[in-house]
Symmetry: C2
Subunit: 258 residues, 2 copies
């Protein structure tokens, strides 16, 4: 809507969350300015927004990079997600909106269906959506935005630490959780949620993070400029990265308006 830098921040955010930009990737102001056809200042404003959101780190006089959280920080993100949702459960105890549990059940059915079709990708999406629904039960927009931010940071971790989920067990635990809600066993539900997130965290494996410099154009579905990019220094791996993921889903327009 308002503000070019906001749009650009959103676009870069999508690229990061879509794993088209990997942690550690350099986000050069000049490059991005060329890609988005705006001035460097707009880019810097976008990077500031992303830095405030925790998806980008800006090092003075060195530039902006996609955030590359340490394993310790990754754990902290999951613990924080755990605590926030445990707090939601505590509130559910105070003001039970049991009618809304049907939404959770519907989500579980969708996830089961996806699992039945062997579509783990889709099942994973529904798995994330379950937690969104849980938080949205509070109808607290402040909390929902906070949770969304934490989720973004968690999705960033997916591309840093390889994930290997046991979707079946995760789905079962969701079901168990709803059952506990139904029986108003909030303390047990909180404990289960904790175990649940520990299971999620165990799905992550440390991966050697040799982040090859990526041509930013690919991340934004830009046509690679005609002139061959200077691959002198680290170009060997750039070429590999170039073939790695030549396209990604994108429904945004990149230049021009109207």
């Amino acid at each position: 809507m308002s503000g070019r830098s906001e749009q650009i921040a959103a676009t870069i955010c999508e690229a990061i969350l879509g794993h088209r930009l990997k942690p550690g990737a350099k986000l050069g102001e000049r490059d991005l300015a060329d890609i988005f056809q705006v001035s460097r200042i707009v880019i810097r404003q976008a990077l500031i927004r992303l830095a405030e959101d925790g998806l980008v780190t800006v090092e003075r006089n060195r530039g902006a990079f996609v955030a590359k959280p340490s394993l310790a920080e990754a754990i902290e993100v999951f613990e924080t997600l755990t605590m926030v949702e445990q707090g939601v459960i505590a509130q559910l105890g105070n003001r039970p909106r049991m009618s809304l549990l049907t939404e959770l059940r519907a989500n579980i059915e969708r996830q089961k269906a996806a699992l039945g079709q062997g579509n783990e990708q889709l099942a994973g999406e529904f798995g994330l959506e379950f937690h969104d629904l849980l938080v949205s039960l509070t109808r607290n927009r402040v909390l929902i935005e906070l949770h969304a931010q934490l989720k973004r940071r968690a999705r960033l971790l997916e591309s840093l630490y390889r994930c290997d989920f046991d979707h079946c067990q995760l789905c079962d635990e969701h079901e168990h959780l709803v059952a506990l809600f139904d029986r108003r066993q909030w303390a047990k539900a909180q404990q289960l949620l904790d175990d649940h997130y520990r299971l999620v965290a165990r799905g992550y494996r440390i991966e050697d993070d040799v982040v090859a410099p990526q041509p930013l154009h690919l991340a934004f579905n830009q046509p690679v400029p005609e002139k061959p990019a200077d691959l002198s220094a680290r170009g060997k791996k750039a070429a590999i990265a170039a073939r790695y993921r030549p396209n990604g889903k994108s429904s945004h327009r990149i230049k021009g308006e109207a």
Copy 2:
């Protein structure tokens, strides 16, 4: 440290949290640029940071204002604080760090001492610190930063809705809370925390919010520019602009929404 816009954002943040800038106050780019002796761009970057933090709102083509949360949003902030800390309590149950409860007790003693001297101001500070300590028990920096952000928004509310706390009861509840921790009655502690924050929220009273335009210089302890000595450095426009608004133009309400 590094980054002028970061420093300036911090300074403006202090002014807002210190209630020297009131909700709804206009933060004009040119005015702030003159005050901090930087270009508008740096100011805008600072405002973007503050907007991401939730302390200012930026309206397109209208400018930046100190955020003026609605009563509904105020409630949401307190509910979110409640839930986050309830989540902390749930984690305390998993990994009890009972030794650290001594810090909480020490804080309570300090608050009692302040109350004994009738220093409600100081008691209020300790009351806030209690919740900081509670969160810091997790040693989770992600959560601590999140909590700090929520606290900032809560302090912003103080200047919008007049607060009138029953510090004695609040302190008693802190003590009760620690006792429940000691007895590992986590569910009860969560319930008490909820009541506690409801008591805090009840301390706020709606106040007619006719925010008169404030001379920003006062908020930053800047000498009011009586002499245009810095005319050479910043050009004539700055001096002219500074002279154009000495103080008492017309006391219109700068932002009305009804």
